[in-house]
Symmetry: C2
Subunit: 299 residues, 2 copies
Amino acid sequence: MNVVKELSVCGGRLVKLSHNSTSTKTCMNVNVYLPKQYYAQDSSRSRPIPTVVYLSGLTCTPDNASEKAFWQFQADKYGFAMVFPDTSPRGDQVANDPEDSWDFGQGAGFYLNATQDPYAQHYQMYDYVHKELPQTLDAHFNKNAAAELDFLDNVAITGHSMGGYGAICGYLKGYAERRYKSCSAFAPIVNPSNVPWGQKAFKGYLGDERAQWQAYDPCALIKNVKRVGDDKVLIHVGDEDPFLEKHLRPELLLEAAKSTSWENYVQVKKVHGFDHSYYFVSTFVPEHAEFHAKNLGLI
Amino acid sequence: MNVVKELSVCGGRLVKLSHNSTSTKTCMNVNVYLPKQYYAQDSSRSRPIPTVVYLSGLTCTPDNASEKAFWQFQADKYGFAMVFPDTSPRGDQVANDPEDSWDFGQGAGFYLNATQDPYAQHYQMYDYVHKELPQTLDAHFNKNAAAELDFLDNVAITGHSMGGYGAICGYLKGYAERRYKSCSAFAPIVNPSNVPWGQKAFKGYLGDERAQWQAYDPCALIKNVKRVGDDKVLIHVGDEDPFLEKHLRPELLLEAAKSTSWENYVQVKKVHGFDHSYYFVSTFVPEHAEFHAKNLGLI
């Protein structure tokens, strides 16, 4: 793990890292924000600082959300760290969309493990984000001391658009072992098997057999995951989001949740006048931060 | 004035406008954020909503600060509107740097009125920002009602880097008529006559005669402007700003202010670990917002 850059932001530090991933067989970039509490030498802190993982949308690098979503103020407010992974493997050796579009290939890894050539070799983003990266961050940041940052146990996940999809998918697939304690999403793709962005990605990465797609589709997963306690999923979407009707369709997740343990525990808040941009995301980050802070035991 | 786009942000609306400027003889873009108070039908509001003008740095459009500086939450908190002008005239007909660099020409108008060919024709950013634009915004937003937004009288100015320079310059040049009630800057160029960015700009736009430069140099202006009341200028700069020693040199403004009415009324806060980016700007926007809110009579 190489520290590419580290700088002051709000009351803490943003650390830009890169490392060679065994999952993607590429060099991956990731940004980590360490809140002011990390530097406060607070001997009264009884537990390590929890983390919130933010998965970004199509075309993004770790920098987009770091610069535009304004999680940092919230991280300082409640005392959690932020992890901003990249959206795909990158590099000349990494297969890209033959049509060179922005909704498939590099910048559009869809947080799944590809099974189809030529993508299977590098596009192993599910294993990377949900397994390898947390272990790697734990080894890097906690190597010299009692664990001060919790990348493995007390962790929340959220994301935007393709990343909102990745967050819900990872939350549900890891639910049995409580991989994540909390999940929210901004304008997520909730039913990739049935919308153009998702179908293009699933066909390319997973092949033509739709049965294989179910393992990564939140609307299929939610039917087979038994909810416990007060767990719920918080979703915001803008009613002027240009992708709402064609690609996002959050109502499909509500329908899928009906007559399951998740009925009434998936909350979709449609907000007036907001589009798909980071203006929308940043506006509702404070509400999502409070939601995760509660679920992580910070308030 | 054309509304190009309008969308919800935080509790208010961001309005992206374009208009044909008589100063620059080009089509200019400008973003305006109207805070939640503008929409609140508050009959108890005794005065129109004041505005804070944010001048951006080299290469920026009105969108950079709108997306990354995060003034909007602060505007909602205190009840002021934001104005984000562009940094220069733009278009194929607008003369550019022969070397096509990013620190002169389009995206680098330095908020002054050029006197030299071929720049004098369009680079009239001083008149545009400080005179024409407020009048145009007033005419657009206040045409149908009692003035609800104050672009002309109760106005603050701030900016980043080249825009921090533009803010201090405009504040001091307009001080006699109290054009602006409040001034702050993030990592400003304070003495353009004596640093490379400023010298290149002044030479290109104003010509070789250094005497002509004094009319736009804060370190010259401050000696001839008599401060009144409690007026002061608030400046932040990061100690890891890569442009600090070569282009910014805020200590030169403190030196220039010595033995003038501004001595002890220019406050330069050097903050540890911050660079020149919007991570730096956004971190200190809350402090600047509170400073301006006080000076605008909002708190």
